[in-house]
Amino acid sequence: GGIITQTPKFLIGQEGQKLTLKCQQNFNHDTMYWYRQDSGKGLRLIYYSITENDLQKGDLSEGYDASREKKSSFSLTVTSAQKNEMAVFLCASRGLGGVAETLYFGSGTRLTVL
């Protein structure tokens, strides 16, 4: 079995700060995802990457950058943190086989902006 590791688990930032979240997977999966989870709003797709060095914008990409320099890692940057922002960011991966494959999730990074 594999695992998805997200770091840090908790992230506290200041308004206007650039913040980076990291995700590592050892499934050897090609596709990786970043979702934002707000209370009562479910998961919203920020970025996804079909393979190494590929980036695709999701529905919520404004205000974020992403990087996929290695197959095993996928980073997300909040370009300018918004005051009083609170959310959980979830990373996921999926193997080849496209439609039939399951998403595997990390346990999340909880962001608080003061």
């Binding site: 496209g98 439609v99 999730f105």
Partner: protein, 113 residues
């Protein structure tokens, strides 16, 4: 626009009751549907999926779901819930052959002893 909607934000039942959590989708073409569970403070875990064939699919821990093309639905059911089933349940969808996976807003299930 591809959307997934879960009409019930909260569902409360007693242990041993049956439960149905509703999911409706709006997609054109062939669709891949799945359900995930999220326990407090954790990431999502896969429960079951539908792609083709028998519209009733079985998942882990006694969960099943039924696909209906006519109703654009993929409701999740369990015949007898346990207190440990208390969690948030998410329905998800993607186009067949696609990579973008869209989630519903989730249903929080509370099972009272």
């Amino acid at each position: 626009t591809q959307t997934v909607s879960q009409s019930d934000a909260h569902v409360t039942v007693f242990e041993g009751d049956s439960v149905e959590l509703r999911c409706n989708y709006s997609y054109g073409g062939s669709i891949y549907l799945s359900w995930y569970i999220q326990h407090h403070g954790r990431g999502l875990q896969f429960l079951l999926k539908y792609y083709s064939g028998n519209p009733v699919v079985q998942g882990v821990n006694g969960f099943e779901a039924e696909f209906s093309k006519s109703d654009s639905s993929f409701h999740l059911r369990k015949a007898s819930v346990h207190w440990s089933d208390s969690a948030v349940y998410f329905c998800a969808a993607s186009m067949t052959g696609g990579y973008k996976v869209v989630f519903g807003s989730g249903t929080r299930l509370l099972v009272s002893p």
